[in-house]
Amino acid sequence: MSTVNSHEHHYAHHFKNADHEFVTSKQGVWLFMVTEILMFGGLFVAFFIYHNMYPDMFAEGAKQLDWRMGFTNTLVLIFSSFTMALGIHFIQKGQNRKATWCLVTTLLCAAIFMVIKYFEYVHKFHLGFFPGKYLDVAHVGAEHANLGLYFGFYYCMTGMHGIHVLIGMALIVWVLIRNMRGDFHPHYYTPVEGVGIFWHIVDLIWIFLFPLLYLVG
């Protein structure tokens, strides 16, 4: 992608030059993303199998979710992906102050996402929509006896994703601090690039989760 010269940054001893270190690290991050996608892939496969088995139940469950909240969150995350990419762009240009503001915005978006998610969860708990065996079908007036299974999926998939958002936030804080300390410059910004890739994948997973959980059915 970008060519990085070797001056200024001290690359690890087993690399030929800073560029060598950059492309290797990036390959490592992408390989890790493959594992992330495969891990969520298992959840998606299970989701499709049960969706196929109980289409009515999944429709009933999806009706209980508020698509407006999910949609807002989708917009928030897509915007945060944009600011993340913009942040990397500014670091490549050597404009670290602008990059800092981009990373702060990304972090704020992530926080907004989690807050909305929190209110969604609390609301569901309030109505009695617990996962699996804790969902009292009579209490919530569910038509389908196994509605708990849908909410099992809902909490597992969004919970898994939420944990990734939290990890992403921690990583963004890390590169934010390093950026403010002035560690990054156009010839060295490998950690920001890596965190950026991770953040885009986390967004991408949500972009699949939103229609599947909120809109399908």
Binding site: L31, V34, L43, A46
Partner: protein, 528 residues
Amino acid sequence: MANHDSSVNYINEFKGIKSWLFSLDHKRIGILYMITVMFFFLIGGIAALGLRLELFSVGPTIMTADTYNQFMTYHGAIMVFMVIIPGIPAVLGNFFLPLHIGAKDVAFPRLNLLSWYMLITGAFITIATLFVHRVDTGWTFYTPYSIRTGGATAMAVFGVFIMGMSSVLTGLNFIATVHKLRCEGMTMHRIPLFVWGLYSTSILQVLATPVLAITLLLLAMERILGVGVFDPALGGDPILFQHFFWFYSHPAVYIMIIPAMGVISELITTFSRKTIFGYTAIAYSSLGIAAVSFFVWGHHMYVSGQSETAGIVFSFLTMLVGVPTAIKMFNWTATLYRGSISFQSPMLFALGFLFLFMIGGVTGIMLATLAIDVHFHDTYFVVSHFHYVMVGGTLMALMGGFYYWIPKMFGKMYNEALARITFVLIFIGFNVTFFPQFILGAMGMPRRYFDYLPAYESLNRISTVGSWLIGAGFLISLYVIIDCLVRGKKAPDNPWGSKTLEWTVSSPPPHHNFHHDPVVSAGPYEYR
């Protein structure tokens, strides 16, 4: 490196326990893994001896049925997740992959150290269930039993989850290392076959393990939140767990065996003093096995109620694995042909591997056959088959590779006569233990029970006696290693006359592996 003094090496350059526990040197991390794996092998081995002792006689011999189930679970889980999966890649691979390809280290040294810490953390959590509430599900954690049983299953699978992450990170590290850190002239068709094995294994680790991770997390969620995915009472499907589990665990079988095949390729060519026959075929058959392994998981489930069509397809695909495997066997045999074979202990283990792995492989084809498997499913025939592959295959290769590389790792020679005795004990003991189990399985003795009908007693006794021979063999191996470290004579740089790069550096290697960046201009096995 200004210092070319060969008395300075990775072992003595830095001192103190901290210089080991926080070392980023792949060689030191390899040694950390070695100690860890040996420790777990000891625990898993004691559990195995306990199991065999219980089966010595009809009726309760030394333990209750519940204790037996727990012994069986911990034996399986420890041997699979803590010994055989990290065994060759994390111990020998860590130490020799960078040396093999002329690199100074693996691509991500800190990640490498983190992998080791994750392995011991995960192992600690899983083993700590012994003191919380012992698990009795077997290492496969099959639902719905694993949802209902009283054992601390969620904790155990969480430990396995962390060990899985460790395995993923090692695989990721090795892939990037092979892609990016090969020295000048080291093309993909010049890397040693052990590296091809590690590379194929790493692909499997990266692609298959995440599926196990999510499966185990769902199982833990099943127990903690009762989400219902695998619970029939809540509308879930316990068979789905088996599909998910084997989608990982069948490739995992190849995670265990492919690096062993890599070691064997090194040993056979070195001790035949002959260029390996069919380098390309052996290299790509590793990738072939890795590719096919993702499409065979259903052969564990012929009697689970899956459709007959699925059974037939899985049966066919499983037999397909035999093709790349046989390619390797024939190429090794062809390498031996008219070679100047010397029977030093590493070669003895390699030849033992060829013999035992062939039995393991051919019985695998038998089990792949639908009609036969319906009869043999869940009998000792299956137990014997996978022990022939995992012990007769992987452990033999690990021992052989270990004896082969000890001089390089520690710069000392071991007692060759004693090492040969360990081979004889392990090889004979292994066959005495497990061959009778083929017969027992064919007679219909089911696996995983702590008791059996009187008709099976004599063969079970033979099997138990065999397990003592194996135990003695490994104990003597431990003595050989300690004796080598304490009293071993100084090893030359290249005691076996091998041609790969690690033998061009001093024994033990210097901290940075190579004094000058190596440049390669030919293949790895230029014997004759």
